[in-house]
Symmetry: C2
Subunit: 361 residues, 2 copies
């Protein structure tokens, strides 16, 4: 049993009573922190940083040294999985991620296989173990992966895309090929997340960054069904503790009921979804994570406080079966003034306490 000293985040995910709303930020270890940029410079480039467990550990801990965050998240990239599948990930300066061998040919798709995470993604597991040691059971560590559809977008497009033309053309013309990619990737992600749990991740999050770009029917068939398979196969208990799971579909607010129904413990929401409505729509059957607009961090400290309180007000008073984890609705922008983040974190901790008080019987 290795319950962290501060287990507020884990308790909120499992909809257990907490004294205040826990908070962490997507991409909290990132370029808005000068110390991150410094470590990255030393690493040479982004990918070397991801593949060096000691440095990945170092940047994972950096935001915790600055802010009173209630969780750490493994520093890594969602594209390490397709990289381990042999697609050849690289980062062209200022251009985002690219693959040397995008998945376009039928033979390559037939040949695709799920990698053994303990062999091809060993550096991630080493980072997880090292971070757990360094955290020394202070706060929990979150592991993560991209969703199969989101990974498939990059794998087929060969990098970022504005319109997903190539992967969507495959979806419409050769759904069998896309389903094959998704099935293999589902196996890969399942093994990858379970290996992270084995190595010490105390909660896991699946990022479906691009599921929201799909038509409603296709979201179910090509994204949510595969995420559901992963959630069903996740290790639920490790080291005597429940390992909760979070599913975040950017732009997925319309499909909240469906997402909340796949067996995950929490659903991440971007800033377009009203949290009070989301609680009603899910009958408080899952915890909700989110959902401040990341752009609010560019406003003045006074406005950041107002907007942070607005999110807490919007979720409302906690009940016996509710859970809220404060977060941004998307990754923190690299241009965010680092000192603005303290205003957010401190406001969440102070202002949320009253919302967790036991209501009069």
């Amino acid at each position: 049993m290795t319950r962290p000293a501060n287990d507020t985040f884990l308790r909120a995910l499992l909809r257990q009573p907490v004294d205040y709303t826990p908070v962490w930020l997507m991409r909290q270890a990132g370029r808005y922190l000068p110390e991150y940029c410094e470590t990255r410079r030393r690493a040479g480039n982004f990918l070397s940083l991801c593949k060096n467990p000691a440095m990945a550990c170092e940047v994972t801990l950096q935001p915790l040294a600055r802010y009173a965050l209630d969780a750490a998240i493994l520093f890594s990239d969602i594209l390490t999985v397709p990289d381990a599948m042999g697609l050849g990930l690289y980062f062209a300066e200022g251009e985002g991620p690219r693959f040397e061998r995008p998945l376009r040919e039928e033979w390559a798709i037939r040949d695709l296989a799920a990698p053994d995470p303990m062999v091809h993604l060993r550096y991630v597991m080493d980072a997880v173990s090292e971070i757990r040691r360094a955290l020394n059971d202070s706060v929990p560590l979150i592991g993560f992966s991209g969703s199969p559809f989101t990974l498939a977008c990059y794998m087929v497009e060969g990098g970022s895309s504005e319109d997903f033309r190539t992967v969507k053309t495959m979806l419409f013309d050769r759904p069998d090929l896309l389903h094959r990619i998704l099935a293999v990737t589902t196996e890969a992600v399942t093994d990858y997340l379970n290996a992270q749990i084995e190595a010490g991740a105390q909660a896991v999050m699946i990022f479906d960054t691009w599921g929201g770009a799909l038509p409603a029917w296709a979201f179910r068939q090509f994204s949510l069904d595969y995420t559901a398979q992963i959630v069903a196969q996740l290790t639920k208990q490790h080291d005597g503790e429940r390992v909760p799971s979070i599913v975040f579909t950017k732009g997925g607010g319309q499909w909240l009921e469906a997402i909340a129904g796949i067996g995950c413990d929490a659903v991440g929401l971007d800033w377009t979804t009203d949290l009070a409505e989301a609680r009603l729509r899910t009958s408080d059957r899952v915890a909700l994570q989110g959902n401040l607009d990341p752009m609010a961090l560019f406003a003045s400290p006074n406005s950041i406080e107002t907007e942070t309180r607005r999110v807490i007000d919007n979720f409302g008073h906690h009940s016996k079966s509710s859970g809220h984890i404060f977060n941004l609705g998307h990754g923190i922008s690299q241009h965010t003034p680092a000192d603005h983040v303290s205003v957010l974190v401190d406001t969440v901790h102070q202002y949320s306490r009253a919302f967790h008080a036991v209501p009069p019987a």
Copy 2:
């Protein structure tokens, strides 16, 4: 009374019985058509094309010569309104629209005034009249404008934006200034659309391209409330005919009930919203326009047919109070193969007939 020979589009907007589902495409006069590129070349650039009524008329009619579309839409740009407000619109090659004088200073915002459309946007009204003459009451002509919030995004950012950082910072820090911009722009858009109706537009559409980038509460206060003011002040009857209005918020599926409640006749939907659910959520109290994923037009003709039928199936059988206008869920991509569009249009016309048959009593 100048009812067009083909009034299927207008009837569907007003939820009156039709024999088949009418179809038109957002940005149907555009770069995917070689004849459009040719006219634009002759015009010199995009803005000269917009400002030349004869050429704007020419490109408006081009897609109608190729495809059996049920409506024409005025060829223009949503940024003509801020241009008429003195912001100095220009298009940097390959960079999209820019303003010479973005709205950043308080004094400039205080000085902002709604232009007289018959003076500063006379070229648009001349284009509307000329297109109506050229259409000769064959199909109806749609006029349009950007929504106040969408226009304000460009006006404050000074052009396109990936994250809307500047306009959102204003929203959080100086909501009074943003409200002032929106109030003046609302007046400008109202006058502009009513002038288009006076000049001959037989339906009008408001494009809220960026409303979907807002938090739910801010969407209501900074986008929908202003669109509602415009809809309330639109000329409802002209030349003896009802002039229907369509409101399209990209990414607004979550807020459909609210959008449908502002008094517009139809709501445009992007491809992420399920049409059957949308009918239930709005109790068929508005017509729905949409919502094929524009990327479906890159698939094979067989797949285009399948996906087009899927949208018609998704809307389902028509009732006495339902209306559906087939469209894409967003503007047609400039890379679309022009001959693929015929497959879509012909499939809509043929396949939809059975869905309009009177059900057995």
